[in-house]
């Protein structure tokens, strides 16, 4: 089977730890690799979560021919007011936000195989006194 250009490398990542730490590490990983799957358990009795992830890396930056189908990994930041949504809980909201972002991205001309995922969430503003 031809391997030119270099095929992406797949890596299985399992992280077990406090939810915040796991979240930070996955966020860091998403800056270096395409996170293709990210499943996190609920906290166990010790408050730890298990994250099972599948990430994809390229060996080196690749030249993209003009007539090719190209995969763009887009970093997007969205501030969302949870009080305006029915899915108030952050976990539920992140899933819905990913779904809605995917729907919006399908509007990109020439696009196919669109996928959006929430890599991290944090307060958008400093807490009000």
């Amino acid at each position: 089977m031809s391997s030119s250009p270099s095929a992406p490398a797949h890596t299985r990542v399992t992280l077990v730890g406090p939810p915040e730490a796991v979240g930070q590490l996955m966020e860091a990983l998403s800056g270096k690799a395409e996170v293709r799957y990210d499943s996190r358990s609920d906290p166990d009795d010790r408050g730890q979560v298990t994250c099972t992830a599948e990430v994809l890396t390229m060996a080196a930056p690749q030249e993209v021919p003009a007539d090719a189908v190209v995969t763009f990994a887009v970093q997007a930041l969205i501030d969302v007011d949870l009080t305006e949504r029915e899915d108030h809980a952050p976990g539920q909201a992140s899933h819905q936000v990913a779904e809605e972002a995917t729907t919006l991205l399908r509007g990109v001309r020439g696009s196919s195989d669109v996928e959006a995922r929430v890599v991290s969430s944090r307060p958008a503003r400093a807490p009000r006194p």
């Binding site: 089977m1 391997s3 095929a7 797949h10 799957y37 499943s39 099972t52 992830a53």
Partner: protein, 409 residues
């Protein structure tokens, strides 16, 4: 096609098995898998075909045979390599309804960790996309969709403990195989059922060396919970060897008593469900309770002995410098006993008839003296034309005989 044990990663939750395709005595390919003890679920771990047998459909035959062997089992095909993705694209799955990738996790989540299965599926999908493969996507459950939420909901249903205990060398007899190529005379002797089995076992053990019990290599040297598994190790080792040995070899299986140690002071080891792999670089003392062996020229005839009393022996150290002080005191650098076992006095078989025998001996001496006196008075006869030597019989070949040379496989 042959079904046999497979010594895969020892810490997997289920025992390893394999289907091997044997063509003209040669291993042409194999599919390795883990099988749940209830035989209602299996996980494919690898599928390999030897270079000389590729593009003949052998991989598909192996998989078909596996699926036929366990007709009720859920099948997890796992994540695929690049070659695996190419093969799967051309394979016609005869039982798609048992392929867990085609079914919702609610059907099979007690056997398999659903989030890991979903991760495998994502990997397979990415490979299909990159190489432009279909990968039976229409058969697959929710192909190309986000699986995290649904599959995570079933993670808690997973039951990783199948209830099968791991091998315990402090409680179980264990069996390890070795393959030895003996000098022809010794080979004939140890496989001759007319000879005394205990003596043959003694000679075999002395030839190999009491301190040379095997450590794990590619196939042999694992300490199994059954004798049959050890013989299978030897068979596999023979089957997969790259340069077939032209001389007949001996499959030799040692049976060791449970180690005389509490579980906390056992040597460093990894225990699977049916076998133990001693990882300690130091030697491991064992007491042998028996041995069995067979020739590669006749795998159906096994010779077996259970020792009257345990025979002290040792699993060889990883390297000579790893040998313990006790080992060095008992064995030389080749693993041979420093004090041959013959020096240990055997019990006298005629002890209870000592007086009777002594009396008869005295009579024979007296009679002989009397005849000598009479003969001296007569003229001497001419010597016979040819000598008549006493036939003593050939002693069994052993470590001291000149042909005590031969490679261990």
């Amino acid at each position: 096609m042959h079904l046999a044990d497979w010594k895969g990663p020892p810490l997997h939750r289920w025992p390893g098995q394999q289907v091997i395709a044997v063509v003209q005595g040669q291993a042409a390919g194999r599919v390795e898998f883990y099988l749940h003890p209830d035989e209602l679920a299996l996980e494919v771990a690898g599928l390999n075909v030897a270079p000389d047998f590729r593009r003949l459909g052998l991989a598909s035959q192996l998989m078909d045979h596996l699926l036929e062997t366990y007709p009720r089992a859920w099948v997890n095909h796992g994540g695929r390599s690049v070659d695996g993705a190419q093969w799967w694209d051309e394979y016609r799955d005869p039982t798609p309804d048992r392929n867990i990738h085609n079914r919702p996790p609610s059907d099979w989540a007690t056997y398999f960790h659903a989030p890991s299965v979903a991760a495998d599926r994502v990997r397979n999908r990415e490979r299909n996309k990159w190489y432009g493969l279909d990968g039976h996507r229409t058969a697959e459950y929710r192909y190309g969709e986000r699986l995290e939420e649904e599959f995570q909901r079933h993670a808690s249903h997973f039951e990783p403990d199948s209830g099968v205990p791991r091998a315990d060398p402090s409680r179980q007899q264990l069996y390890a195989a070795d393959i030895v190529v003996l000098p022809p005379g010794l080979h004939r002797y140890v496989h001759d059922p007319a000879r005394d089995t205990a003596e043959r076992a003694r000679v075999l053990l002395e030839y190999v060396g009491h301190g040379n019990l095997p450590r794990s290599s590619d196939y042999t040297g694992y300490w199994n919970t059954s004798e049959q598994a050890a013989f299978t190790d030897a068979w596999l080792s023979h089957l997969f060897q790259e340069a077939p040995c032209t001389s007949p070899a001996t499959h030799l299986v040692y049976q060791a008593q449970p180690l005389d140690a509490d579980p906390d002071s056992l040597p460093q080891l990894v225990a699977s469900m049916g076998w133990v792999d001693f990882k300690d670089t130091e030697d491991v003392s064992v007491d042998l309770s028996g041995m069995s062996w067979r020739s590669t020229t006749d795998l159906t005839t096994q010779h077996r002995i259970v020792f009257d009393s345990p025979v002290p022996a040792a699993i060889a150290p990883d390297a000579p410098q790893d040998a313990s002080r006790q080992y060095r005191a008992r064995y030389d650098e080749l693993g041979m006993l420093r004090v041959p076992s013959e020096t240990i006095p055997a019990p006298e078989p005629f002890e209870d008839r000592r007086e009777e025998i002594m009396e008869r001996a005295q009579k024979v001496i007296r009679d002989g003296s009397h005849r000598s006196t009479q003969a001296a008075a007569r003229p001497q006869p001419a010597p016979p034309a040819s000598g008549h030597s006493q036939h003593l019989g050939n002693p069994p070949p052993g470590p001291g005989t000149p042909d005590h040379q031969g490679p261990r496989l």
